[in-house]
């Protein structure tokens, strides 16, 4: 890297500034790879993890990233994507091969999230929900029949799944849910409304959480969406996550057989699924964050102001350095999080800290990038504003920032302050 002892240039009044094209000496900025892996984490991943990351990166950058702005602006989640993701093997990365997954490590799943989110958080949301919130609970709490019926089709993208926990009046406090279930003969009858459900109207199968009227405990069900009494409609007023489908589900006395009940009792079942998705998000957001840093670097290098590229300005560099440092620390955290999960030693506290901090780092990076791109930064021609607005959702869902703060506070002090 260049040294810092160079003579300061004599200030030139801006009116006499020579054309920036001839004035600016050729700079050698770091490459994207160097920026994204300053501490050589690459050396710590397995060859398969690296290969998976690179294959997904190539796929995402060639097939998805160039279209993300347009899809987001138009508010469309293209119909072909679930199958395309399935063909790549990106759905159920850590699900065993026997059920159609790739059978890779949790770390590999995290790296896939990161590459997908570099294109758009909404695309990653689809992958998260399908893999962590639908396939994972079926694998973990479902009967062999349920696993055989659903996992291979969810892995190919032939079937789409959604996860219904949140309700219009129960978000951060899911225990306040009003959706009820009741045992009637061999069936369970479910009644209630779920809101903010990713992929809801597209789903063939929904994981629905409801409180048992008799025991008062929360139970989870695999609900085929073509059952009578199941209805879904999209929320169309979003200014964030526009290329992801978000829906409201209405369950009007939907009857499902007891065989569709997940083998877990209490809210901890739902929360254990969220832990899987939050883990992926801690990796995923780094993709969005680094994409905005990369975009800002290129934009500013080509944009002269007062006689030289904006990358040569101190205030600009301060922002870039903050973005780089915060996202790099996030990568180190995510790496360790991944290995703890691979070793079976991960705790919800690890996940809360990583989700909260990495979302903050990515959101702050996107906000800086939005600012640094000036007027262009508010358009969908560039990614900064789109990523920034998506990350507002990521900060809210899968445990709002405040909720993770309170989880950390409780762990630290032993006092719950929710």
């Amino acid at each position: 890297m260049s040294d810092t002892t160079a003579e300061p240039p004599t200030p030139t009044p801006s009116t006499q500034a020579p054309s920036p094209r001839t004035a600016a000496p050729a700079a050698t900025p770091m490459t994207r790879r160097e920026v994204e892996d300053t501490f050589d984490l690459d050396a710590l991943y397995t060859p398969e993890e690296r290969m998976i990351r690179d294959a997904v990166r190539e796929y995402v950058q060639s097939e998805l990233a160039p279209h993300a702005g347009e899809w987001w602006r138009e508010g469309i989640f293209p119909e072909h994507l679930p199958r395309a993701f399935g063909e790549m093997g990106m759905l159920g990365v850590a699900i065993p091969e026997a059920y159609g997954g790739a059978g890779a490590t949790a770390t590999a799943y995290g790296l896939v999230n990161r590459e997908v989110e570099a294109a758009d958080s909404g695309l990653r949301s689809f992958v998260s929900v399908q893999s962590s919130l639908v396939m994972w609970p079926i694998l973990t709490y479902g009967s062999e029949d349920l696993k055989k019926a659903w996992l291979p089709r969810l892995a190919t993208g032939e079937a789409i799944g959604c996860f219904g926990l949140t309700e219009p009046d129960a978000g951060s406090d899911p225990g306040a849910m009003t959706t009820r279930c009741k045992r009637v003969g061999d069936d369970w009858v479910i009644r209630g409304t779920k809101r903010w459900i990713t992929s809801g109207t597209r789903a063939d199968v929904a994981i629905i959480w409801a409180r048992d009227e008799d025991s008062g405990r929360v139970l989870g069900f695999v609900v085929e969406t073509d059952r009578e009494g199941f209805r879904a409609e999209d929320i169309k007023t979003k200014a964030s996550m526009r290329l992801s489908v978000t829906s409201e589900l209405h369950l009007d006395d939907v009857a499902v057989p007891d065989a569709n009940r997940l083998d877990v009792v209490g809210l901890k079942g739902a929360l254990s699924c969220l832990s899987q998705a939050r883990f992926g998000i801690a990796f995923g957001v780094l993709g969005a964050g680094f994409a905005t840093l990369d975009e800002a670097m290129h934009y500013l290098e080509d944009r002269p102001s007062f006689g030289e590229p904006l990358t040569g300005k101190q205030l600009v560099q301060a922002k870039l350095a903050d973005m780089w440092s915060d996202l790099t620390k996030g990568s180190l955290l995510a790496y360790r999080l991944g290995r703890l999960k691979d070793e079976g030693a991960i705790t919800p506290t690890h996940i809360s800290m990583a989700k909260r901090d990495n979302v903050r780092a990515a959101l702050q990076a996107a906000r800086h990038a939005r600012d640094l791109l000036g007027g262009n930064g508010i358009t969908t021609e560039y990614g900064a504003m789109r990523h920034m607005s998506n990350l507002e959702t990521v900060s809210t869902y899968e445990g709002a920032d405040a909720v993770h703060t309170l989880i950390l506070g409780r762990a630290l002090t032993g006092r719950a302050a929710f």
Partner: protein
């Protein structure tokens, strides 16, 4: 039938290449499978998927970590891979490299060899022809279309005067050109399966480079960067003169 696809590892597009005292140093990069070699792997896989009863073997000579690009070929679908371990310095010479590879190809009993038309790093197109020469087999270079009918090959390649159709018999060497077969993305399950496929690693026999490198220096091309002024007619006249006589 056995198809050997010869592959190389090259620095990826983000590599930082520095020339240091006559030596080329590559940093800040991961290595990847040479794109033109990838066409060859893809072509072999497509012929097999099209019903040809063939074993597809990926073969490379290079430093031990060349293994990763062989894994990529396995993840794409090759059945097996072989690495002859040698220092880049010892086999930097394309003729020495070709001799080692040709011996291994003969040993494999290959019927068809596919390799890149040109190497992304050294920009050399010599490996394919050198292989054909060592093996004494026919060569189709810069191939954009390839068909087999038994042991008869029909290949369309980019000749100097445009596309030419060649017909010859196996065994043969074919080098790739863009358009032959757009490579697939390795899928995640196949990447995991590749880990279990056989990959033989053995030291390469000693190689004898036939060229002697005296030094290396980056090629610098300066542009004249001249703006023409005056009336449109003056500019056109000056441009015509520059084109005819040079920009000096």
């Amino acid at each position: 039938m056995k198809i050997v696809t010869v592959v190389r590892r090259v620095p990826d597009v983000e590599a930082r290449v520095e020339v240091d005292g006559g030596d080329v140093r590559v940093s800040g990069a991961a290595w990847s499978l040479d794109g033109m070699d990838e066409y060859g792997v893809e072509q072999a896989l497509r012929m097999r998927e099209g019903g040809l009863d063939a074993e597809v073997v990926a073969l490379a000579v290079g430093p031990a970590d060349t293994e990763e690009v062989l894994r990529t070929a396995l993840a794409m679908g090759a059945d097996r891979a072989r690495l002859l371990v040698a220092d880049d310095a010892d086999v930097g010479d394309v003729l020495a490299r070709a001799r080692l590879l040709a011996d291994a190809i003969r040993e494999e009993g290959a019927d068809l060899v596919l390799t890149g038309g040109k190497q992304a790093d050294a920009d050399s197109a010599a490996l394919g022809p050198a292989l054909a020469e060592h093996l004494g087999w026919p060569l189709a270079d810069w191939t954009t279309h390839l068909e087999l009918d038994g042991t008869q090959v029909r290949a369309v390649h980019d000749g100097d005067a445009g596309p030419e159709t060649l017909a010859f018999a196996l065994p043969a060497v074919v080098t790739t050109q863009q358009g032959l077969a757009e490579p697939r993305y390795p899928t995640l399950p196949n990447i995991m399966k590749a880990k279990r496929k056989p990959l033989d690693v053995a030291d390469a026999p000693p190689a004898t480079p036939v060229t002697n490198v005296v030094g290396r220096a980056p090629e610098r091309r300066e542009r004249a960067r001249r703006m023409l002024d005056g009336s449109l007619e003056d500019q056109a006249r000056e441009l015509a003169r520059v084109l005819r006589e040079g920009a000096a």
